[in-house]
């Protein structure tokens, strides 16, 4: 109540500082909102474009396990010299019933973070029997057949089929032609393993007859683990440098372009530094406001104390007053900041046309700033308050006389 009256009576003396505060707070909330949006926007941009893909070469099969622990999204893997692969029935295996990779089959990499992969999504969405791809954990072997292929082979999910591949570089074209008609028995140059069918899917556009996981491909066609080239992106570009360093210590060649990331990281740091400066400025503004207010109202406060307001009560009155001024300023700042954000976003989009930012000032840091400022106000009031000890009240009243 007293605080409200004080606010009404002294509103004019607060007006000037309040206006400046509104400006500072507007800038503060705007910059904070933008700075906090950039990482997400940058992530989206980096993950949706070919930009700043890391190319990790000479990855061995065992290393895949390590790669899964790194916070990256694998976007592609290239296995050196992919061998011809075919799927057939375990018994009376005939070429007629063989589906080969070159024309009909396809391999896909199974890694934990592969849910983004469109093929795997398609398989999972069209699954009519068996298990989804994503349910496979720990880089297991997995084989999915299209409904058509399953019909040709006469198998269901769970049935064993043969997976055969040419031994790497061991067969010539003549050998293939020579031994294929001799059906029934497995040719020497073939490597065959038996695997259960993991699932069966309805055909979708551009689908192949079967898909297998990368571990399955490797166990089928390679005796020696081969080197794989992995293309990946950081899950969070903020960690780009850390991850790059981590990868560099493990792999010989990590190629990454990060100019935009670097400039963005710099921008974010700059924005946060501006925020800190603005917060300090705002605290100084509040400090001077409280100081002048206390100075102007020495006598009034002395009187309030003489009339029996305790020091705690006074702290309450004054902090309520200043915090309500602060709150009003904050309210205005929140109303005004979208315009400022709009402006800054336009500037950023001119420089980095591919970064898309929202015009929203919802951000957890804004209440945090408010809390910090409120606490600062409380501290400033507390610092001022120790002058208002009981023993000096007559002095305060007299001081007021002199300044009049």
């Amino acid at each position: 109540m007293i605080a409200l009256q004080e606010l009404r009576v002294n509103s004019r003396s607060f007006l000037m500082t309040a206006c400046i505060s509104v400006l500072i707070l507007t800038a503060l909330t705007a910059i904070l909102s933008i700075a906090s949006q950039i990482p997400d926007a940058l992530n989206k941009y980096v993950n949706n474009s070919a930009f700043s893909t890391m190319r990790i070469e000479n990855v061995r099969y065992e290393d895949l396990e390590f790669l899964e622990t790194v916070q990256i999204n694998v976007s592609d893997m290239q296995v050196e010299s992919e061998a011809e692969l075919s799927v057939g029935l375990p018994e009376d295996w005939l070429p007629d019933f063989t589906i080969t990779t070159e024309t009909e089959g396809g391999g896909s990499k199974y890694m934990q973070n592969m849910t983004e992969d469109c093929t795997i999504r398609n398989i999972n969405q069209n699954l009519c029997e068996g298990e989804e791809w994503t349910e496979l954990k720990d880089r297991q072997n997995g084989l999915w057949l299209s409904a058509g292929a399953a019909e040709v082979l006469g198998v269901h999910a769970g049935d064993l089929v043969s997976l055969s591949a040419r031994r790497y570089n061991s067969a010539t074209l003549e050998e293939v032609i020579a031994s294929f008609p001799a059906s029934g028995s497995e040719p020497e140059w073939m490597n065959t393993i038996s695997v259960p069918v993991t699932g069966i899917y309805r055909e979708f556009t551009q689908c192949k007859s079967y898909y297998y996981t990368l571990p399955l491909y490797i166990s089928c066609c390679m005796q020696e683990p081969e080197e794989i080239t992995v293309f990946a992106k950081c899950q969070n570009v903020m960690h780009f440098h850390r991850i790059k360093n981590l990868l560099n210590t493990h792999f010989l060649s990590v190629d990454a372009k990060y100019e935009i990331i670097d400039s963005m990281l710099f921008l974010i740091a700059a924005l946060y530094i501006i925020c800190i400066c603005l917060t300090v400025m705002e605290i100084m503004m509040l400090y001077s406001m409280v100081q002048t207010y206390f100075h102007q109202r020495v006598q009034a406060f002395g009187l309030l104390r003489a009339l029996g307001l305790s020091r705690g009560g006074m702290l309450f009155v004054i902090s309520t007053l200043i915090i309500s001024v602060l709150t009003i300023c904050f309210g205005f700042a929140l109303l005004l900041s979208p315009f400022m954000i709009q402006y800054v976003v336009n500037v950023i989009e001119d420089v980095f046309p591919d970064i898309i930012l929202h015009i929203s000032n919802r951000n957890i840091l804004i209440p945090a700033i408010y809390a910090v400022l409120s606490v600062a106000v409380l501290c400033i009031c507390l610092l001022n308050l120790h002058e208002y000890r009981s023993a000096y009240l007559s002095q305060l009243l007299r001081n007021g006389d002199e300044t009049k």
């Binding site: 009339l307 029996g308 020091r311 009240l393």
Partner: protein
Amino acid sequence: MEDNTPIIEGRHLFKKYVLHQGDYYALNDVSISVQSGEYVAVTGHSGSGKSTLMNILGSIDAPTSGEILFEGISIKDYTEKQLAQLRNRSIGYVFQSFYLEPNYTVGKNVEMPLLIAGYDARERKKRIQAVLEQVGMEKHIHQKAYMLSGGEKQRVSIARALVCNPKLILADEPCGNLDSENTAIVMDIFHKLHQEQKTIILITHSNEDASQAERQIRMKDGKILS
């Protein structure tokens, strides 16, 4: 409370000011005791320490040494909060220069001690009305304080001193800034308050005003003469 316990008592009060020329004792071994319902006038030359005494008795200043007892209890042991409560509920101050908030209305000025005491809105309104009627200022309740004349201001400040119904009223030269007509009005109010069994300590220059009181205390150079 026993009847013969003084409402306020000062024992061997000293107040020392450290000045360039050396220490100066505004109060030099002052002992004073006022019974409940008494009307005491304190007189003396300018600079004799009257205001200092009042501020110390009213606990808005601290003595260098000595003891103040309010209703027999030493206020030395009081906490900040208890002291604030004492000033709020038990003592009413009337200052020579009023100390009204110029931008507040008369009503708001008088309401201040009630707000501090935490009375509810209805009670506040009732008391403000009653106390303004007592000093004859009820018509000015919505007027800003800076627009009032000196006499009116002093009446408002008396109303403010009375609004929490204190046991003790301390008035420091309430008529010092007033003409004779307004002085008469203010003195009349004090006279009525005395009849209502209020304890009043009135500080004044004027012997005429002092003569209205039951008891006179004369001060000189920080000491009590009689």
